[in-house]
Subunit: 339 residues, 2 copies
DNA sequence: ACAGTCGATGTAATCGATTCCACGAGGATC
DNA sequence: GATCCTCGTGGAATCGATTACATCGACTGT
């Protein structure tokens, strides 16, 4: 592969001049510029990004560590992140943690070794030593969706509190009184927050959230299935299950189906995170939708701000309830005004 | 960030010795090794992968350019690719082409500039000049799922012919005679092949595939919706629609639903690529399942073989039909023996 | 006419690693 | 006791870019 020296030789100039042309530095003669450009063309030369990064100490690359690529919420997030990053002149390297802290650490380390300019993380746990060091250390960082408390890093996320209240209002209106939740890992902020928001919303109606109605999941489908089976085995099973993400909702559907039961007649179902398939499931699933694309874009903007020396804002956007038929028929149209 | 020089100073040895310890070169004294390791520990030193790559001309990185991250088939592929690559000591950088040739070229160029060790591509088109150059040029390359004919690059893919025959047998057995297909772009191999396989299979039953029953899609949901609407507007609409991927099947569902029609009574539906949600859609969707994980792993093995100087085999694995209820009730269990 | 300025260019240092080569000490061989 | 290896080590070149600094010619202003 041709290097800058080859181009310089071909054009009959020094490597400095070639570099100047490539980075369009002002003081290059038109003459030299055309000769260099011609040489670049004939040799099919492309600058070596590795060498360039070593010298400039910039990779123009963002690292994105997401919790699970198989979760449509995170792929949508990843897509919007890449899109916005590209628009701002950055590439993105994605690391998939599969909800495993060890894998998450592996990717963070790998990205740091590659000297990415900044890191976008949706942490799967409360923060390993490595993650905390990275956050405190030099690398610009932004949390997206989930975050780690007590660390001075901007957070871009969505607030589901109001939407959860709307959901509970909807469920209560349909006559449901025994409401259960499939929670995410307590080590994650979204794992805890969604339970708390649910409990608070229930409280407003004088309802309790007994421990038996809090199933411990891990944001993966299999745990949703397992927890739902547990609920169904209870002497007094819940009337509604609220899954804290879409994959656990899928697992819940598997469990209900395996028993030959029906949603919503035997068990109503709602989920956090809306995905396109929820429109076509049997029945269509009531869900809380996050402004995923906007979240991804805002996160990139915040990170690039930090990288380029500007402050870098935390952002919180509201989620909203999308009512479908999985919690009961003839739903009262409870929608929040925010779009 | 600490460099190898800092470590050398801290340990009281030369950088050469530090490098030897880090790459466990045999001729280093136990004494020096422990001193270096201690210095590494106290400084929290991590080798700069950029510098290392520049010197060794190896990045231990694979590029993966996929057609669409929002397509669950490709995310599953990406996941298995990353998994196998990690097991073999490589990282993966994913580029999402969104089914757009220009974006695909952007990512290929970007990956080449980063001097990745090898490239895994599922091309969105017949091959841009850049792609062809890359294939012929030095970079080891392997095609996965889709490929470009006439280029000497190993191909790892799945053969759906037998499964499509099974599908048509199933449909014919249910009494369907007017069968339509939502095709992928003619510029992609999978776009063409699936139509051809379908046509051939129909031929075996003396059925035609008229042009009006071939809808041109682009593997995205919106095109599936549009094409299906066209089918429904025909004076003699088809009885079955076979979508060449899962996203176009989603679009077809949208279209059917928008008209207040029902699957399979008003229109039967089948899809290429099986996904977990197909079990829970209304009705569950009959699909052709690819051994996606195995495909990804085989592709990585082939690519790493090439990178490390071994031949690099093409691999073709069979797909299989999974019958559900979207083509009609009481299905004859047509299953191929292969798992 | 001469000093000063400016624009274009080249030389060389530099980024952080790897690795060839030379060198010195110590042990084995005769 | 001289020679020859072997082993551990350090110095320095190298990878492919960027960029500070020096140089040189031409032009300008007085």
């Amino acid at each position: 592969m041709a290097s800058i020296k080859d181009v310089a030789a071909e054009a009959g100039v020094s490597v400095a001049t070639v570099s100047r042309v490539l980075n369009d530095h002002p003081s290059v003669s038109a003459e030299a510029r055309t000769r260099v450009l011609a040489a670049v063309e004939t040799l099919g030369y492309r600058p070596n990004a590795v060498a360039r990064s070593l010298r400039t100490d910039q990779t123009h690359t963002l690292g994105l560590v997401i919790s699970d690529v198989l979760n449509p919420y995170f792929t949508e997030l990843a897509r919007s992140v890449e899109e916005e990053a590209r628009a701002l002149g950055y590439s993105v390297i994605i690391g998939n943690a599969d909800e495993r802290p060890d894998l998450q650490d592996h990717h963070v380390r790998n990205l740091l070794d590659r000297r990415i300019d900044g890191l976008l993380v949706s942490p799967t746990d409360g923060g390993s030593p490595l993650m905390l060091d990275a956050a405190r250390g030099g690398t610009p960082m932004v949390f997206v969706d989930r975050w780690i408390p007590g660390v001075d890093v901007p957070v871009v996320r969505s607030d589901g509190r109001a939407a959860v209240r709307d959901l509970v209002a909807h469920l209560h209106g349909l006559g449901h009184r025994r409401l259960a939740i499939i929670a995410g890992p307590a080590a994650t902020t979204t794992g805890r927050e969604r339970v708390e928001a649910f409990r608070e919303a229930l409280g407003a109606y004088g309802l309790e959230l007994p421990d038996a109605y809090i199933g411990q999941g891990d944001f993966q489908a299999e745990s949703g299935r397992r927890v739902t089976e547990g609920f169904l085995d209870l002497p007094e099973p819940p009337e509604v299950v609220f899954a804290a993400d879409n994959l656990m909702a899928l697992g819940a559907l598997d469990a209900v189906r395996a028993r030959g039961l029906r949603v919503p007649d035997d068990l109503a179902l709602a989920a956090f995170d809306d995905i396109r398939w929820f429109v076509h499931t049997d029945p269509p699933i009531t869900a809380i939708a996050q402004p995923t694309g906007e979240l991804g874009r805002a996160a990139v903007r915040a990170l690039v701000d930090r990288i380029e020396g500007r402050p870098g804002q935390s952002v919180t956007l509201p989620a909203r309830l999308v009512v479908r038929r999985s919690c009961g028929e003839n739903p009262t149209p409870v929608q929040r005004s925010t779009t």
